[in-house]
Each structure stands twice: as C-alpha cells, then as structure tokens.
C-alpha cells in the first residue's frame, strides 16, 4: 500500500505543535504559581511579646474558615456539656480575647499562610497555636467579679486533648464534614461565600487530614467525640495537662504509646533564665531546645520549624519568657493580701528557710532576682521525692533522648547539643516565684492548693476540674464536692498517672513533726513569693 510521507509528516505536526504549545503553557503556569506562592507567606518578624502572643510556631491545624464554623457544625462534639454550658471556648477551657473578636477564636489561635506540617505557602489562611494558648490562664476569685488573665502559668482550664478528640471525631464524619457543607455553613454564618482558593485548600487539607486519621486508626483507635471528649474515662488527660511524651513516642519512635499515663501539667514559664535544666524531670537544658520540642509535641514538624518566620517566633517567644515575671498575690487579691500578717510572714520565712529554701531558693530582696538554693537544679530521685512515677518510668523513656536528638538534622536551626538532653530518674528542684499562681501543684496537677501541698490540709483524693475559681485562702483552685457545669472532670488520684503522693515537705500530713501553726505561717509566706 503506498505510503504518503507528506501526510505522515502533517499528522506528526498536528500532534507535535499542540504538544509543544501545551507543555510551554504548563511550564509558564507552573513558574507563575511558584513566583506567586512565594508571596503568600512573606515572613513576618515579630518582637518577643508579639511572637509569644501572635506568632505561629508551626502548629497549623486547619484552615481558618473551617475553624470559624466547625464547632457550629458539630455541637455534639464541641459542646459536650450541652448548649447551656456555654460555647466550645468555655467548655474546653480556652480564653476568650478581650475586645473585638471577629473570627470568634480564642486567645492563642493564630492565622498564617503556612500549610500544616510542611509549612508550604498557602493562598488561604490556616489556624495554628501560639505560645500564649497554653501558657496563660484565667484567675478569678471564688465569688468575685474580676477575672485576671495571667501570662506565664499553664492554662489550668484548657482541655486541649479533649478538644483534639472532638476535632478528630468531626473530621472523620465523611457525610457531614465536606467542603460543600463547610462552605454552606460559612456562608450562612458570615453572609459571605468562601473564595475558590479557600475551597481548594479546604479540600486538599480535609483529604490529607482525614487520610492521616484513618491510617492511624488501627494504631491509636477512634476518637470518642459525641459528648465524651471531656470524660476522664475517655480522655484522661484533662484540664491543664498534656501528654508530651506520648506525642514524642508516636511521632518519633512510631509506637502507639496507648499504655502511657504520663500526664504533665502545662508548665509555667516564668523566668526561664533562672532554670539551667527545665521540664519537671530536668531533662532539657537549652531554652530553645525546650521550646522547639514543646512546639514539636504540639504539632510542629522538623520541616516547618526550619522556616525563617517560625524559627524567629519560637526564639523570640522563648526570649520573652527569660525574664517573664509572675504576678504578686497583692496584685490579684488585694483583699486577701490585706489579711496577711507581717509577723506570720516573717515566721513563715523561717520555716521556708529551714525546709524549702535549699531546693527552691528564695527571692533576693535587693535585686528582685532569685537566690539559688544549694539543691536547686538538682534532680531529686523518685525514691526520695515519692511523687507520681509515670513521668520517669514510662515505656520508651530510655530511648527518647537519643531519638529526639537524632531527629534534628545537623544544619537545623534547632539542632541542640546532645549534652543538653538527658534522661533522669527524678524531678528537678526549681524556683517557685509567684508560687500562688502556679496552681494546681505537683507535676501532674494532682494537688489543688498550696495548703494541701504543704500538708496543712489533707490532700483530696477526688476533686473536680474544669473552669475552677481561685481560692485565695488556701492558695489554689477551688473544687466543689460534686461535678457541675464548670467542674466536669472527675480527678481521681488513685488512677494511674494521677497520684498526689510525695513531696511531703515540711512534714507529712499529721505525721512526725507536723506543726499546723508553722504551716499556716509558711502558707502566708508562700503567698508573698
């Protein structure tokens, strides 16, 4: 059969020319995208305070548009106490900002143009956490009208793990949680349609987030949701606490960590420069290492913690805490402070000097600084201090330090020295400036008041946590005898990880040497720190 080369060449051109044109167009569009996407996340370099309050630390969770409507779409998950118990901010212990709040989000929810995990530029805003989310708390006197927002202590009401459980339960609902329904909910609430780029980013995020949750179901089990996210039987972490080592075990060692009960109070971050080794077990030295690992435990990644803006925010936030001072008792409770007696405070100072100063140091009245005690900074072995052992004895504890160290590549901005990380067999003695504001007490938040901590009063074995008011008499959190709308979390010290035993200084309750009068004096003195 005759073959026409001319026609064959023509046919070839019919394919080649459009192919060349199409490829050229694709290349051009790709280059335009790369140039344009750089501008989506121009880094902002904030000062210390601004970084602490408003700076992303790489913990982006969801698109901003989703954060604004999600609780409304899923009241069954985000209002576990029912509508009458308040909105999700109230029910999970977040802090509502003073002043105008158009996004309706709590303090510490910050928006950025970084995508979760990768930190890649996003055309739509994503919401993550800043340091202030966890490291600020509300202190409201029982029966009082004034609420103080104190920067520095852990948020005693924040039930972050419960909230995460609710979020995961919502995200796994494939019928109700779709881009179309999110867009519809947004439009109904704000009278404004979502843009195409927002819908695109929501779709991409939802698919990725849901796939990750589903892939992890065999390892971590399903979330509870359906009003159970705050139940201690379901999510035992509870208000004011985290499980940082479980996060590390899951993300770094890739193990379920489901048998761990390492509940740790969200740490106060006053005067971080006064501590050489920090975290309750004295395991981390370098301040930036502490902060970067805290960010990592909260959801940041090695990748996004290398981005210039996030590096800057973590460092600036850390620097903010170097000299961060806690409030004085007289500032927050002037009436109660007026009841203190100079004589009793002086006697209490003596008791403190004899029984507490060695480990915790004392204020320097001349400089306003802190005088380090002889045993301050030491690790007190578990066998001596007798507090809850889970933090020290958890499975995989021996491997964590090496594994975490190797996690950071050598050129990473937060690569620390191996010598700055250690495994200990006890808890570190730290300064206790603004002691009254650090409630609840012990590393696992198992003791509600200073009065109970020093064994002036018996430590309660069952109490109820949530949005606890402050008791300035006993210097700590007030708990009713029965649960109610604000005090929903039943804290049982007999459960694993919740022990309130140990640290029986100066004396065990009604034990040998126990002196109620001296303890009253000591309590008065502690309120002045």
């Amino acid at each position: 059969m005759p073959f026409s080369k001319t026609r064959a060449r023509f046919l070839l051109r019919v394919v080649q020319i459009p192919a060349v044109v199409l490829v050229s167009l694709l290349l051009l569009l790709t280059f335009v995208l790369i140039i344009v996407e750089r501008r989506w996340s121009e880094p902002q370099f904030r000062g210390q305070r601004e970084a602490f309050f408003d700076g992303t630390i790489g913990t982006e969770v969801m698109p901003l548009a989703v954060a604004k409507v999600l609780p409304d779409m899923f009241p069954e998950h985000f209002q576990p106490g029912g509508r009458e118990a308040g909105d999700w901010i109230d029910q999970f212990g977040f802090i509502r900002p003073a002043g105008p709040n158009p996004d309706g989000l709590p303090v510490g929810f910050v928006a950025s143009n970084y995508r979760p995990q990768s930190g890649a530029p996003s055309p739509a805003k994503f919401v993550g956490f800043s340091c202030v989310l966890c490291h600020s708390t509300r202190i409201k006197e029982k029966g009082g009208n004034t609420e103080h927002i104190v920067i520095g202590p852990g948020n005693a009401a924040l039930n972050l793990f419960g909230w995460v459980d609710a979020l995961q339960a919502a995200a796994l609902d494939e019928e109700k949680f779709t881009t179309a329904k999110i867009a519809k909910a947004y439009e109904e609430k704000y009278n404004e349609a979502l843009s195409t780029k927002e819908k695109l980013m929501i779709s991409l995020w939802l698919r990725e987030f849901r796939n990750t949750l589903r892939d992890n179901l065999p390892k971590y089990d399903e979330p509870f949701g359906q009003g159970r996210s705050r139940d201690p039987e379901a999510v035992p972490t509870g208000p004011g606490r985290t499980q940082p080592f479980r996060t590390l075990v899951r993300r770094v060692i890739d193990r379920p960590g489901t048998t761990m009960s390492v509940y740790t109070k969200i740490a106060p971050v006053y005067h971080e420069d006064w501590k050489e080794w920090a975290q309750v077990d004295g395991s981390i030295r370098d301040l930036y290492a502490r902060s970067s690992l805290a960010a990592f435990a909260a959801g940041a990644t090695i990748d996004n913690m290398a981005l210039p803006e996030i590096v800057h925010n973590i460092r600036q936030s850390s620097d903010y805490t170097r000299a961060l001072e806690g409030p004085k008792f007289t500032q927050l409770f002037p009436n109660a402070a007026g009841q203190l007696s100079d004589e009793r405070i002086a006697r209490g100072r003596e008791v403190y000097a004899q029984h507490c100063q060695s480990c915790h140091g004392h204020p320097d009245p001349g400089t306003g600084g802190w005088v380090k005690g002889p045993r301050q900074g030491e690790i007190v072995p578990l066998s001596e201090i007798g507090t809850d052992p889970e933090r020290i004895n958890f499975r995989h504890g021996a491997r964590i330090a090496d594994t975490v160290f190797e996690l950071f590549p050598s050129a990473h901005p937060f690569k620390f020295q191996r010598a700055d990380l250690r495994t200990t067999d006890g808890y570190v003695n730290g300064p206790i400036d603004s002691a009254f504001s650090r409630a609840p007490y012990l590393h696992n938040a198992s003791v509600l008041t200073l009065a109970e901590l020093i064994n002036l009063k018996p430590r309660r074995n069952i109490f109820f946590r949530g949005n606890n008011a402050y008791d300035p008499v006993d210097a700590g959190l007030f708990s009713p005898d029965q649960p109610d709308r604000d005090h929903y979390f039943r804290f049982d010290v007999s459960l694993r990880g919740n022990s309130n035993r140990g640290h029986d200084y100066p004396w065990p309750y009604r034990g040998a040497g126990w002196n109620a009068a001296q303890l009253e004096d000591l309590l008065q003195y502690l309120k002045t720190l």
């Binding site: 192919a19 060349v20 490829v23 694709l26």
Partner: protein
Amino acid sequence: MDTTRERMITLTHFANAYVPFGILLVLALLVAEQSNNLNLYRTIYTIWTTTILLNLALCFYVFRRVSRAAYNHWLLFWTFSYVAYLFHFYWAVFLVFGGIRETFAGQGALIATTNFIITLWWGADVLLAWLAKSERKWIRIQRAAAHVFIFAAFVVTATILRGGLVRWLGIILAASVGLCFLIRLITWEPPPKIERAAEVNPRA
C-alpha cells in the same frame, strides 16, 4: 561529520526533547506541593528529572556521529537536562541549604566542589555546543571529558550515596549508557581509507 552543518534542528527533534523535559519538570515542581517539605522535594524531584534526561543525552552522545538526528537529539537533551539541573541547583543551594557558603558547610568540600564543577563545566559545554562554529579538537576532548565526569558523578552519587528510586535511576543510567557504548563499539566501522593517487608527473 561536520557537526555544524548537521545542526538543522527539526520540529520533531525539538519536540522529542522538549515535551518530555517540560512534562517531567512540571511534574517535579508540582508533585512536590503534596509533600511535607516543598523545597526539599522540589530539589529531589528535579534531580530525578535531570537524571532521566541526562540518561538520554548520554546515550545520544555515544551515537551523535551516526546521523544528524542523533546529533541533534544529543544536543537538545544535553541542553534540557542542564536546564533541569539548574532548577535543582537553585533549589538545593539557595532554598534548602540557604546559600553557597552554607552548601559547602552542609555538603562538605569534596561533594560541594564536585557539584559546582559540574554546574560550571556542563553549562560551558552547552554554550560551546550552541555557539561554536565547529567542533575543534580541544572542544571535542573537553566535551568527552565533561560527559565522562558528569556521568561518573551522577552514577556514583545515585548508586552509592543515595537509595530508593534514585539508586535505580543511577543503575539504569550506568547500564543504558554502557550498553549504548558497547553497541557503538560493535557497530563502529572505521572510515574508508582514501588511497593517495599516484603522482602524475613523478620527478625524473
């Protein structure tokens, strides 16, 4: 073969090289959007693209004197693989390492120096290939050396210093170029001898 006379690039030659280059580069840059580290994965995927295109360039280099088409394909793939490599170089040096000094600190002097030599030498040869009017002896020798050096660097890096898919790309590169070379050796025919005509007027 006078290569300058042979450099009459047709649409077919161009499309054969440009279309795969474009598709691979677009994929390399866009697929990285789904990764956990955009810059790192653009660096990785662009070196995959470079390796694939370089593979074709080196194979055509072996046969470049066989025909005009082979020569042009070599030139085009040599050029496009270098362009893809420049994308990789930019992402690696300026976005992943954060600068030239940081690259030397991160990679070590030996590897960084080798990479910079590749970047400069390859680019110089591409320019020569397009701009030089003829392939003089020194150009041929440096070109051969450049090809051998770049081939060796890619094969050693991919097969020894890396793992996963990159190692396989390196193995395929080594095997296919080796095979092409072998075929060329087997099929090579020396040019016919031109016998000198006898002198017409020998001196008496």
